[in-house]
Homo-oligomer: 231 residues x 4
Amino acid sequence: MLLKDLRTAVLEANLEIVRRGLVLYTFGNASGVDREQGLMVIKPSGVDYDDLRPEHMVVTDLQGTIVDGALKPSSDLDTHTLLYREFPSIGAIVHTHSEFATSFAQAGLSIPALGTTHADYFYGAIPCTVPLSDEACGGRYVHETGVAIVQHFQNNAIDPLAVPACLVAGHAPFVWGKDAHDAAHNAVVLEAVAKMAYKTLTLVPGHPGVSQALLDRHYFRKHGATATYGQ
Amino acid sequence: MLLKDLRTAVLEANLEIVRRGLVLYTFGNASGVDREQGLMVIKPSGVDYDDLRPEHMVVTDLQGTIVDGALKPSSDLDTHTLLYREFPSIGAIVHTHSEFATSFAQAGLSIPALGTTHADYFYGAIPCTVPLSDEACGGRYVHETGVAIVQHFQNNAIDPLAVPACLVAGHAPFVWGKDAHDAAHNAVVLEAVAKMAYKTLTLVPGHPGVSQALLDRHYFRKHGATATYGQ
Amino acid sequence: MLLKDLRTAVLEANLEIVRRGLVLYTFGNASGVDREQGLMVIKPSGVDYDDLRPEHMVVTDLQGTIVDGALKPSSDLDTHTLLYREFPSIGAIVHTHSEFATSFAQAGLSIPALGTTHADYFYGAIPCTVPLSDEACGGRYVHETGVAIVQHFQNNAIDPLAVPACLVAGHAPFVWGKDAHDAAHNAVVLEAVAKMAYKTLTLVPGHPGVSQALLDRHYFRKHGATATYGQ
Amino acid sequence: MLLKDLRTAVLEANLEIVRRGLVLYTFGNASGVDREQGLMVIKPSGVDYDDLRPEHMVVTDLQGTIVDGALKPSSDLDTHTLLYREFPSIGAIVHTHSEFATSFAQAGLSIPALGTTHADYFYGAIPCTVPLSDEACGGRYVHETGVAIVQHFQNNAIDPLAVPACLVAGHAPFVWGKDAHDAAHNAVVLEAVAKMAYKTLTLVPGHPGVSQALLDRHYFRKHGATATYGQ
C-alpha cells in the first residue's frame, strides 16, 4: 500500500482530535505529506470517524490530483495542498471547528500570547486572517482560504513552524506541525490556549499579553538548539 | 405494528439528543411524520429515556387525535402537529432545552450566522420569535407556540428547510429536518453553533455575522443541486 | 434499623447529586424528615460518598439531638433542622456547592425566571438572602444561615414548595422538596437553570424575565390540580 | 528504594490532578519533601502520566542536586526547591495549568474570597504575583518564579499554609499543602473556586468578596484548634 506509515499516522491524527473533543460529527480533517515523493495523504470527505481505516485515506499530489483512493478527499483539500506548497517546512495539517478557537475565528480576533501555555507552543499571537472577499467566496473558495493564511504569514514575516496555527476569519482554525502527531498535538493545545484566552479577555478586555522576554523564555525552553524540556 | 420503521427512527432521534447531552431528565422530545398516511409518531410525556421502546411511541393524526398508543403523548404535541400542517416539507421535529440554544431563546435573541459551521446547516440567522402574548399563554398555549414559529417564518419568507430551527422566546428551540435522523442532527449542530455564538458575541458584542457570499458558499456546498460535500 | 426506607432514600439523594456533577469531594449533603416521628436522617460529615451506606446516616430529632448513629452529622445540621421546623410542608433538603448556582449566591443575585425550564419548577425568582451579619457569622452561624432563608421566605410571603430553593449570599444553594427524590431532582434542575441564567444575563444584562402569564402557564402545567405533564 | 512511601504519595498526587481534569498532556507536576532527610521527590520532565511509576520519580536535595533517578526532573524544579527552602511548613507542591486558575494568572488578577467554598480552604484572596521582570525572564527564570511567589507572601505577611496557593502572573498556579494528598486536593479546590469566581466576577465586576467575619467562620471551621468539620 502506497505511503502505508503516513496513512496510519494521518488516521491516528484524525482520531486524536476526536478523542480530545475537538470534532463534532465529521467537522474536521487531518493530512500529512511525504516531501520526497511529493504526495500527501488526507481524510476522505464526510466519513464517520468510527469507520475510518488507513486504506480509506486518499493520496494526492500537491496539486490535489488523486493518485490513490476510492473515496473523495476532504472538501478542504485545496487549502491543504496550497499550505504544503507554500510552507515547505510543515509536514502535516489539521483542521477542526473546535469550540473556542472557532469562536475567536468567528469574532475575527487573533489570540494574543497571554501566558506560558501559549508561549510554550506559539511564538507570538495566533493570527486571524482578514475575511475572505466576495470574489474569493464566489471563486476558488477553498484555495482562497489557503491564500488568506499564506498571505498573512508572508506579509507579517511569520515562520509557520514558530506559529503553527492560523484562524480563518468567519470559519475556524488550521493547525500544522512537523508531522501528523505534532499537528494534532498543536490543535489540542490551541483549543486549550483559546479556552483560557477567552476567560482572560472577558476578565480583562484588551489584555496586551505577556512580555517579549517571557515569550522568548518559554518558547525557546521547548524549541530550538537551547531546548531543555522533556527527556 | 403501525408505522414500525418510523417509531424506530423517532426513538433513535430521542436517544441521539440524550447521548449528545442536549436533554436533562425528560426535557426533550422528538417526532416524525408519515405524509402519505397523514400520521405522526411522538415520544410519550415524561417517560424516562432509559425505558423508551418503539412500542411506547404514540401515533396521532395531524390534528393530534391519538390513533395508537397506551401512553399520553408529549405535552408539546400541539406544537408538533401545527408545524407538520404548516411546514409540509419537513419530516421530523426535535424539541430540547439544550443549554446554549435555550439561553439565546431566554435572551430573546436570534443567532446570527457568525461562521461556516452555522452556514453549513442554516441559511441565515436562526430566528427567535416574539414573546407569546398573555392571551396566547392563557389560551391554547402549546398551539400558540407553534403559531409564533410559523408566523415568524411566513412573515419573513424563510424556507423551513433552509433554516431548520427556531428559538421560541422565553422557552427553547424547536428544530426539524427532512427525517428524524436529520432533525436530531440539526438539533446537535444548533447547540454547537449556539455555544460558539455565545463566545463570539461576548468577545465582540453586536457582531453582524459573515458576508452573504460566505453564507452562500458554505450553505450550497452541503445543500441543493450543487452540493459537493461527502461521498 | 430505625427509619430504614428514609435512610435509603436520603442516601440515594446524596448519590444522585454526585452522579449529576453537583458535588466536588464532600461538598454537599442531603437529609429527609419523618414528620410523624419528628425525626430526620442526614448524611454524616466529611465522609467519602463512595463509602456511604444507609447505616452511616445519622438520625436526629428536629432540635438536632442525635437519636441514632455512630458518626457526626453534617456540619450544616442546624440549617436543616431549622428549615424542617419552619417549613412544615417540605420533606427533604439538599445542599450543594454546585458551580453556577453557587456563583449566583456568591454574586448575591437571585435568579429571575428567564424561561420555561425555570417556570416548570420554580414559581418565580429563586431568591438570594442578604449577607449574614457579622454577629450571625460569629454566633450560631449554621442556625443563622437557616434564619436568613426563612426570613426571606416569610418577609416575601413565598411558599417554600412553590419556590423550592434559596441561595445563601456568599455561600451556596439550599434546595428542598416533598421528599428526598424530589429535593435532589430540584437541585439538579436548579443547576441547569442557573447555567442558562448565567448565559442569558451575560448576553442581556438586567433581563427582567418572562411574563407572569408564561410563568403561570408552565408552573401550573406541572403543579397543582390542573397539572397535565407526565403519565 | 530511597523514600519509597514519598514516591508513591507524589505519584498519586500527580495522578489525582490528571483524574480531576487539571492537566492536559504533561502540563503539570507534583513533588513532596522529606524534611528530616532534606530531600524531595518530583515528577520527571515531559513523561506521559500513563507510564509513570514510583521508580521514575526523581530525588534531589533542596538545592536541586539529583540524588537518585535516571530521568531529568521537572523543568520547574528550581521553583519547587526554593518554595521548600523558604516555606518550611509545607510538605508538597503541585503545579498545573488548570483552565480557570490559569486564566486568572494570565489576567494578572488575584482571586478574592467570594464565598464559603473559598473560605473553607484559603484564608483570604489567592494572590497573583507581579509579572516577572525582563531580567528575571532572561536570568534564572525558574528560580525567579519562586522568588516572585515568596516575595509576595513575605511582603504581605501571608502564612503559606493559610493560603496554600499562588498564581504566577502570565503563567499558572502553584499550590501546596502539608503533604502530597493535601496539595493535590488544594489544587482541585483552587480550580473549582476559580471556576465560580470567574462566573461571579463576570456577573458582578469588582465584587469585593465576603466579610471578614464569614471568612473567619468558614476557615476556622476546617482549620486550627477549633475545627469542627469531618469525623
